[in-house]
Symmetry: C2
């Protein structure tokens, strides 16, 4: 029987490859952020993609609850990896990443290229990507936890996530 | 064009019915909790069900990262409502609920009935439900936000969620 008191496996290439695949395939994610009024951990579904360096990006509206939260407290977390239709959803692999959020100004260098890349991966976002209240947020990883199912958890560093 | 400065619709019966359906159908959820060491909003996938009063319940291991988080700070949030396979996942309805977590002792009255109910809804959990490190946590709603897609957000109160 495995040692159930230390639930983390040492990082390995199989885990790194799985983590990178979960990030590359995700088009949405769950975001944990601090409620701007109370600090209570709060949650939203967000759009999700990667920039050309492989850093997580989201596109959010300044009218959303999590926008005010991220502006007040940029430390947050995202989870990617959707359960399949069959089987126990808790055995489906998912990646939790603690991040530091940083708003990207429309006038920033590289914004046009990021917009093109985002539209290629999220074609339906063309309906709102240019609304004045929408903007990109870069979410730079601070630490990560890969969970491949019971007994298959692995702590990963930011460099483990880069393609 | 709708007023994009007040993104919340007034609560209505359609929204309450949708919120209750999302809770009743969910077998897993995303949990936002405070990292017990840093306070950073963190995230996990959790098993999800309802007790006979319709209050959200999870079954968690004391070896999980979120277990330590919830014990240190019981205010947390859950999100239910999985995106479908087709369409923009950000238009798929989801419900975010701020909750107060409370551990349920195995010797508590009603524990056996809760265990039976949980097993009926989560048959695969019979493999681990009786492990010493697993236990139920009741997550009593404090407030809720239903998001039925762009321009269809609605704040709901705990009593709006009860069946």
């Amino acid at each position: 029987m495995p040692d159930r008191t230390d639930p983390f496996l040492p990082p390995d290439d199989e885990g790194r490859t799985l983590a990178r695949r979960l990030l590359a395939e995700a088009r949405h994610a769950a975001l944990a952020y601090a409620d701007p009024e109370t600090g209570t951990p709060s949650i939203s579904r967000i759009a999700f993609g990667l920039d050309e360096a492989g850093t997580p990006i989201t596109l959010i509206s300044s009218l959303s609850a999590h926008d005010a939260g991220l502006r007040a407290q940029p430390l947050a977390s995202v989870m990617v990896g959707e359960p399949g239709i069959k089987g126990d959803p808790l055995t489906h692999p998912r990646l939790m990443v603690q991040v530091r959020a940083e708003y990207i100004d429309r006038s920033a260098p590289g914004h046009a290229a990021l917009r093109d890349r985002w539209l290629a991966d999220h074609p339906k976002s063309k309906l709102y990507i240019d609304f004045a209240d929408f903007g990109f947020v870069r979410m730079t990883p601070v630490s990560a936890l890969l969970n491949g199912g019971f007994g298959k958890a692995m702590k990963l560093a930011p460099e483990d996530l880069r393609p």
